[in-house]
């Protein structure tokens, strides 16, 4: 039989482009480009209903109070403040470099990899907001506080390990985290200022 040498017919691929286009358009429509980013937080566990809240014994100097009212104005440690000043103020508070009496207590702690260091491990940043506070204003405050911690951590990493915090390995990061633990407490909402 002389059929062996016959060529197989070629598949017509001119519609391939159209099919690919269809797929492309389908994916363009059903997917979204935005990747999820955000500020991570851990909420405090719920309080048992029948239990009286024990008065929290926090030394007043260990407490950094940030209040946001319904007009999105900031009150930091009892004085009106602009959002731009918050980061520096928070850093000053967390670090307490000059060991001032009105800033948190410094305790000597032996941290692995870093060694003996005086840290303000009992400090608490308390963030209180009004019911009518705008979400963006709240996030701005959260952001500044996180930024303050991040800057402090970066400074320490640079000093001890010569690298940025993000570039450290896990144990080093843990050590730096021990030196500057993130302590932002979100209180129950109250009404501050602003007549409704």
């Amino acid at each position: 039989m002389g059929k062996k040498k016959r060529k197989a017919g070629e598949i017509n691929s001119s519609s391939m482009a159209d099919i690919a286009f269809l797929l492309l358009i389908f994916f363009l429509v059903t997917t979204s480009m935005s990747s999820s980013t955000g500020l991570s937080r851990i909420l405090p566990p719920p309080l048992p209903k029948d239990q009286v809240v024990p008065p929290v014994d926090i030394n007043k100097r260990n407490l950094f109070v940030v209040k946001v009212n319904s007009q999105n104005q900031l009150m930091v440690q009892g004085e009106l403040m602009d959002i731009r000043g918050l980061r520096e103020k928070a850093k000053e508070f967390i670090k307490n470099e000059a060991n001032q009496d009105n800033l948190p207590v410094r305790t000597l702690v032996d941290i692995p990899l870093i060694g003996l260091m005086e840290i303000t491990k009992d400090h608490v940043i308390s963030l209180q907001n009004d019911v009518d506070t705008q979400y963006q204003a709240y996030i701005d405050v959260q952001n500044e506080l996180v930024a303050a911690y991040n800057e402090l951590r970066n400074e320490l990493s640079q000093e001890k390990f010569g690298k940025k915090y993000n570039e450290l390995d896990e144990e080093q990061q843990k050590a730096v985290k021990t030196a500057y633990p993130q302590k932002i407490s979100e209180a129950e909402p109250k009404n501050y200022g602003g007549v409704k």
Partner: protein, 156 residues
């Protein structure tokens, strides 16, 4: 001497389109790689707040989303124009949230249950009162790992 001459009757060859599918496929794979499937169809309008210190969400399969914002125009008639909460594909009330979280968590693998993260995707003009209510019910549901969804703003 070489002669430059113009052939007026010469035809321009047809544009080769054989590589077109490959190019399109490349596009397709690019988009498949960099985009993610939409989680739900939005019924509320959410334009997230801006922040500089944002971190990337690590584990998407363990994340549940709560959308907070004003209803889209086509739902305004039946749901009003006040800030609403969207869970999954439907509008919900704050007191349904606890139940939602509990059922979502029990549907998860046992090892992953305490790793569940709740992402609050709220519009930037939302009043904190709503957010506070959500936070309180999340606390009651023991969903303590939360993320305030925010977009990256370059530092100024």
């Amino acid at each position: 001497m070489a002669q430059i001459r113009k052939d007026k009757d010469r035809e321009t060859p047809a544009l080769a389109t054989s590589s077109l599918p490959d190019i399109i496929f490349m596009f397709l794979f690019f988009f498949m790689a960099v985009t993610t499937m939409k989680e739900v169809t939005f019924k509320v309008r959410v334009s997230p707040p801006m922040a500089t210190e944002v971190t990337k969400l690590e584990n998407k399969s363990l994340t549940r989303y709560i959308y907070v914002g004003k209803p889209m125009d086509q739902y305004k008639k039946s749901f009003g124009s006040e800030t609403r909460i969207q869970l999954g594909d439907a509008f919900a009330d704050v007191n349904e949230l606890e139940e939602f979280i509990v059922s979502e968590r029990s549907a998860m693998n046992e090892n992953d249950q305490n790793l569940m993260t709740v992402s609050i995707k709220a519009d930037k003009d939302t009043k904190m009162g709503v957010i506070n209510d959500i936070k309180q019910s999340l606390r009651r549901a023991y969903a303590l790992k939360i993320v305030y969804s925010a977009n990256k703003r370059t530092a100024h």
